[in-house]
Symmetry: C2
Subunit: 367 residues, 2 copies
Amino acid sequence: MIELAHDRTLTVELGERSYPIHIGVGLLNRSDSFVPYLAGSQVMIVTNETVAPHYLDTLRSSLPGHLDVRAVVLPDGEQYKTIEQVGRIWDALLEAGFNRRCTLIALGGGVIGDMVGYAAASYQRGVAFIQVPTTLLSQVDSSVGGKTGVNHPLGKNMIGAFWQPKAVVVDIATLTTLPARELSAGLAEVVKYGFIRDAAFLAWLEQNMTALRRVEPEIVAEAIAKSCQIKANIVAEDETEQGVRALLNLGHTFGHAIEAHQGYGNWLHGEAVGAGMAMAATLSHQLGWISADALERTKKVIESAGLPLVAPTGMSSDDFLTRMRLDKKNVDARLRLVLLNDLGDACVSDATPIETLRQLLDDYPRG
Amino acid sequence: MIELAHDRTLTVELGERSYPIHIGVGLLNRSDSFVPYLAGSQVMIVTNETVAPHYLDTLRSSLPGHLDVRAVVLPDGEQYKTIEQVGRIWDALLEAGFNRRCTLIALGGGVIGDMVGYAAASYQRGVAFIQVPTTLLSQVDSSVGGKTGVNHPLGKNMIGAFWQPKAVVVDIATLTTLPARELSAGLAEVVKYGFIRDAAFLAWLEQNMTALRRVEPEIVAEAIAKSCQIKANIVAEDETEQGVRALLNLGHTFGHAIEAHQGYGNWLHGEAVGAGMAMAATLSHQLGWISADALERTKKVIESAGLPLVAPTGMSSDDFLTRMRLDKKNVDARLRLVLLNDLGDACVSDATPIETLRQLLDDYPRG
C-alpha cells in the first residue's frame, strides 16, 4: 500500500461543533479513524451499490466487534438523492431500534454524504454522523461545512439542514477505484478554491494538474488538504451562509441550472460547475472585471482538469433563466451571482442587468 | 369580544434564538401580532381543514396587502402527522417560488405546529416560522421549546428537528371553538407542569379546574402564561434535552406507548398523557416515593380535568413494554422513566427494575 510521509489533520473551527478532517492513505483500515467519534455502540453504515463492493467490508472489519453495526446499501446516483431514500435510512434505524446515541457513517460520495447527514440531522431530532467521502468531489467539498439535504423535483438541495459531522475521514486510497470522469468532476471544486480565494494555489494547480489526474498520492493529499483548509476557513467565518460562504457557489448557479435541466445525474455536478465557472468568468470579463488573458487562463485550467467549457446542446437561454430564478441563493427575486474580480478573488454581486445575463446566455457556446 | 385586562408577553431565553410568546384575546385580528416577525414578503400559512373555516380568513386579513400570502390546508389529525404531509408544504413553497426569506405561519394545534416547524427547519436548510396555536394543548406545550417533527410507522416524533419559532401568538379566543374533549387533553399538560415543578400551581389548578373547563378567559390566560413560563424556563436551561428537559416527559413514555398501540389519533395525546401520569404516579407510590394520599390527589386532579386514569382495554403488558423500548428517551436500552419524588418534584430515573415495571403493568386497571 502507498504510504504518505505524514497523515494530515485539519480542524474545522465551529466552537462546540468543531470537528477534525483526517487525510491519509489507508485510514479506512484503522479503527482509530472511527472509534473516538462514535456516540455509543449502535453504528449504521450507509453506502451505495457502487461503493459497497469495494469498501463496506473493509470499514466493517475496522470497527470493534462489540459494536452493533448495521448497513444500508442505497442505489447509486444523483437521481436517488431524494427524501424517499432518506426514508429508507430512517426505516433501517427504527427497525434496528437505534436510539439517540447511535452514529451514522456515510461511506460514499457527495450524494451519500448529503443524504446521511440529513438523515442524521432529522433522526430523533439529531444524532451523530461521520463522513467517509470516497470521491474527490466529496473529499474537498460536500464533506466539509455541514450542508446536508436532498433534491426536490422543483430544485436541487431544496430540502435539508445544517448539521455538522463528528469527523471526516478522507482515505486517499479510495481514489484508486474512482473513474477518471469523476476525478475530473472533483477537480472542478479544487480549482474553484483557487479561483475564489487563492491565486498561489491556482498557480500550483496549473503546475500539478497532470500529477493530480494521475492520482499521485502526495500531490492529491496536498490538493485535498489545501482545498479543505480554504473551505473550512470560509465555513468557520460563516456557518449558515449569510455572507462570505456564498463565494463557494462560484459556477453553481449556472451549474445547478444545467444539472436540473439535463436531469440530475446526466451531467456530473463537477462537470456542470466546470461549465458554470467558465460562464461566470465570461460574464465577469464582459462586465470588464477580468482581462481577456485571465479569462483564457480560467478556461485553460478548467479544460486541463478534464471538464467541459460549453453549455449543453439544446438548453436555451430561457431554460437557464427559469432554473436560475428558483435557485435558493436569490433573495427576494434579485438575481445574485458569484463573479470574479480577479483570479483568486471572487465576490457576490446582484449588479448584473438581466439583459446582460440574457445576452451572455444567448451568445454562450453549446456543445 | 371578551377583553383581558392586560395582554401577557413572555420571552423564551435562548440567546440569539430567543423569542416572545404573546397571550391575549383577539391577537389573530391584529397585524402587529405578525408583522414584526416576518423575514420577508413571502408568507405561507399552513392550517388544517378543521381550523381553516374558523380562522384562516381572519389571519389573512390581518396581514398587510403588499405581502405575497399563500395558504396550504392539510387534513386534520395525528394520523396525518407524516413526512408525506410535510412534503405537501415543501411542494407548495417550491411551486410558489418561495426563497430563504419566506415565513411559514402554523395555524392550528400541535400536529400543524410540529409539521410546519419541521417543514421550516428543512426548507432550504431553514427558514422562519411563527406559531399560532389554536388548541390549549399546543398553546401550553408544543408551541414552546422548538421541538418539531413527524411520526413514523415505527414510532412517534421519530423524525424531526430542534427549530425555534420567531414568535408564538396565543389567541385565547380560539378556545371558544375547541371541543371539550380537546380542552381536557390540553389540561393534561397544564397539570403536568404542576406535578413536575410547582406544587403551588398544582394547588391553584385544583381550585380553578371548573373555571378552566368553562374557559373563563382570565383564568385560562393565567394557566397558559404559568404553563408557558415553566416550560420556557426548563427549555432555556436545557434546549436539546440533555437533562432537566426530560422532566417534561412525565407520563409520556406510557402515553406514547398507548397512542402508538391504539393507532395515532384514537386516543388524544393529552388523554394518553393523563393516563400515563396516573401510571407514573402509581409506580412512584409503589417504589415508596410518594404517599397514598399524594397518589389519590394526583388521580383526582387528572380525573377532574376530564381525563382517563385507566389504560386501554386490550393493551397487554407486553404491548406496553415493546412500545416503550422504542421510546427515544431510552439511552442504550436502559429504561428511563420520569417519576415523582413528591407533588411538584419530578425526577428522571433508570432505577426501576424491569420486574417492578411488569408487575405494575400487569396489575394496572384497564377500561
